[in-house]
Amino acid sequence: MRRILAAVVGAAMLAGTTLASAEVVKVGIIAEFSGPFAVWGTQFRQAIEAFQKVNGKTIDGHEVQFVYRDVGGADPAKSRALAEELILRERVKFIGGFALTPNALAVAEIITEAKIPTVIFNAATSIITRKSPYYVRTSMTVQQYIDPLPTWAATEGKMKSAYVLVSDYAPGHDAEEIFINNFEKAGGKIVGKARIPLNVTDFAPYIERAGGSGAEAVYIFMPAGAPSISIIREFAKRGLKDKGIKLLAGGEVQEVFLPAIGDDVVGTISSMHYTETNTYPENIALRKTLMEMFGANAVPDIGSVGAWDGTKLIYDAIKAHGPRITGDQFVAFAKGRKWDSPRGPIMIDAQERDIVQQVYLRRVEKRDGKLVNIDFFKSGMVRDPWKIANPNAK
């Protein structure tokens, strides 16, 4: 016990002295590296490493060091403790990461007090960036990337009625709200909806009900991974696909998940702010670097681009303000900034510090034996609809 403590204390002191003498900019990454959401952590890390490979590990001779911390799942208490640790023990200048909203929300108070800018690579609940002036988001919000889908479905898609199935958690509720609002506004009819508890594994009953409702389309919103794979398989196995009912989705049908779902998924329509098959030069660079570094199976997803752009924003800010950049300088730098992302042109909203970007509608197809998403519609620049509808909510 004593020895362990001595080692811990010693190591800390060592770290303290090196910090004082070298110009190293540390960026703490809080993400899910273990647990059911471990995919996110891996994708973040690979994207950051890919970015560093392309752009170098130093900026004007100053090293940028990433310090990874595993939050292990939806664990706000741990997320907060990790943020505190990164700020106090590692003396990071920036924090990044966060796949899940609760983990991102948990650090609001700490980063405000410590004035540490925090770049959100994925967590998609609208309210987050209002909780601290030091949040900047490079991913998306749920309502933002869903926004064009219901409108398109009811009009050009010619779907008159829809059934809405969402997971019973905050992002699911956001998704349900925007889908139903926009769909009805565009003249469509919602014939039924259900909220599915997060721990459900057998989706047959929900799909059965949706199939029996007479809806022409079923919209789903699930956490990516096992549940969304099961529900899409069930959709096909229950014959809804054969009946001609359209499946509308989002993050569930990112390219990384398609092989796991199988050919059942072909024809699924989804909206997303990033399509893996797009031909922007930044995307080609990202894909190429990932495959070079992590093998042929490395496929970028929304986590990858979120992390890539977040890292780029931090790099650019350090380039502009040097290694001693303050939190307020960073936020000022980020506000209103535009750049070309692998997903296309993006911008950070000058008021909300939230991302503004295009949204793409895609269809899953099989090309050269591979399941991929192919764009068929591109929206204009979309601001987060929730923030527009709730200008003063905190």
């Binding site: 647990g35 891996t42 909220r195 047959a204 009953p205 096992a226 099961s230 196995k237």
Partner: protein, 288 residues
Amino acid sequence: MLIFTILLDGIAYGMVLFIISVGLTVTMGLMRVVNLAHGAFAMLGGYLASVMIRHYGIPYVPAAFLAAIACGALGGVAELTIYRPLYRKGELAQVLLTFGLIFISIAAMTLIFGPRPIDESMPKWLEGLVDVGFRTYPTYRLFLIGVGAALALALWFIIERSLFGARLRAAVDDPGMARAVGINVNLLFTLTFVGGCALAGFGGAIGAGILPIDPFYALRYLVLFLVVVVIGGLGSFRGSLAAALAVGIIETAGKYLVPQLGSFLLWIIVFGLLLWRPNGLLPAKTAS
């Protein structure tokens, strides 16, 4: 018609639970080992079958059987090396060690196969729909019901009608007495454990369409398997069948009829049942 759909869905779900849990009920009843890591064998079966189908082109059903054999073999090794020293230890030690095995299995599967769920590997002939009179119904689920029923029948025959089964039942009732009348209990333990793990592997492989395989499988469904075993009564073959079907049907019915209750319903029922009958619905031992 809804009631028939609920029943079919519930039974298909219950059959998967049964195939995976029946091995656990026998080991918990016979060896008195609280084996939380049982689900890890089911998960392994799912992974192995998927690898065989996708990388070696082995057809679905033989792949499931081969996966079952591999899981059985591994179970045998585990019984001889890890579980045997556990029999003499208390429940707490058993809970913890097998909890540790779950952690190791999660880490190992993440390392080998990555954190994502594995790819779909269902054959074409299972994908369609079959007309069952009042509606069309997924072939896959009918297949699960059929396989489950066939396995239940085979197991019933082995346990109730064969010499091995007689010895097994005797040992579940009273291991000391079984030893005294000359049954090689150690061998019986190993064989049973192998059988239980093989069944779990098989269930994991063919049940992957309902319980998708990913590294967290063993932890995610652990409580579900335990509920089946404990509600059915430790060591009770009939009990585990009844409990698996009951859990399947109750969960399914809950989702159809009162979706807002979530898993409250199941837990409240489990809680009530265990208070009412701590030894399960159909306990194996007459004396409590």
